[in-house]
Symmetry: C2
């Protein structure tokens, strides 16, 4: 019996089918691929391309998209700093459950603050692969897929909501950094290939 | 672009590998088996037995246990009525994601209030299988695996926290009701068998 936060009288219930058994069934290892970067840096594109490539190899993955999750689990949250932190915490907790279930969970969120990403990494230190879409701000702003930069330039986004253009790179603990090469962005499939190679090298694509 | 609750400027990002493709990979259909009943009614026992039986058949399931989730995703929540509702809402949203990922998600929570269970059913109306552990209160109290009934009888649980012995059965929409037979509880494996037969009959165990 333990006390966690505001909860008392709660017990840990052991599951009889363990993570190792699920991984054997799936012939892969559960992990979290956490894709972070500015709005317009290509996070969702990479998530889609990566899940397609993994599926082609018979691997089960699932995308937790920051915006999609705000339609369901996190629809009670806004964009204040504490709401962003809670948004990322919940996605981290759910990603951890998916990894425990044996899936390759692809989380795609701006997640600008280092401490929020690190808190998620701390939940699953051995199976958290951070992928940083290190694309130039100018390129992201040119793409502006959601029109957010335009709104920001027009002063139409509250300061609280503008952290999508703040991005903390200090103390980076990332595993993979994707950059332009000679001023050209790699194709989605090339970027997915880089992540898949990493997963393969680290043994995630077999049980 | 849409507004959901407190969130604005959010978009729905389509995933390129769809539920049907994941189901084909797993040769099963994603769904939620929601096990509800009093403390001590055998929810966790059934969840374990069911996941074992499904694993034996090569099916991928994952248990969302109400108490376990309070150690992670829901550790900010207590036992006030609104916290219980939020606890169940979040588990429902996560269960929906697991079903979308193609898994047979086994949710095991007391979930005493009809409206909370119905809200979860509404998230996934076509693939929500409610299993009610209809065991006598006297039996549950005799088992009292967490000592909660003892605490309640001793007046040591705040009224707010005592809804584990309140259980709303009105307007039951359940698919499976498990009862004692001639005053004897069915074995965990017999109960799991009943649920597996249901899943089989409804086509969940193939893609």
């Amino acid at each position: 019996m333990s006390t966690m936060g505001n909860s008392t009288n709660i017990f840990w219930q052991e599951s009889p089918v363990g993570k190792l058994e699920r991984q054997k069934l799936l012939n892969q290892k559960g992990c979290v691929v956490w894709i972070t970067g500015l709005s317009g840096s290509g996070k969702s594109t990479l998530a889609c391309s990566l899940s397609r490539e993994l599926h082609t190899r018979g691997k089960l993955s699932y995308i937790l998209d920051g915006d999609n999750v705000r339609h369901g689990l996190n629809k009670d949250l806004g964009f204040k700093a504490e709401d962003r932190t809670e948004n990322i915490r919940r996605v981290g907790e759910v990603a951890k459950l998916f990894a425990d279930a044996g899936l390759i969970c692809i989380a795609s969120l701006i997640s600008p603050y280092r401490k929020d990403r690190d808190a998620c990494r701390a939940m699953l230190p051995d199976a958290f692969i951070e992928v940083f879409m290190n694309m130039p701000l100018a390129l992201c702003e040119e793409r502006d897929p959601k029109g957010l930069y335009k709104l920001a330039r027009a002063g139409k986004i509250k300061e609280d909501d503008s952290s999508f253009i703040l991005y903390q790179l200090i103390a980076l603990l990332l595993q993979i950094e994707l950059n332009q090469k000679d001023g050209v962005c790699p194709t989605p499939s090339a970027m997915a290939g880089e992540v898949v190679t990493y997963l393969e090298d680290k043994g995630y694509l077999q049980d």
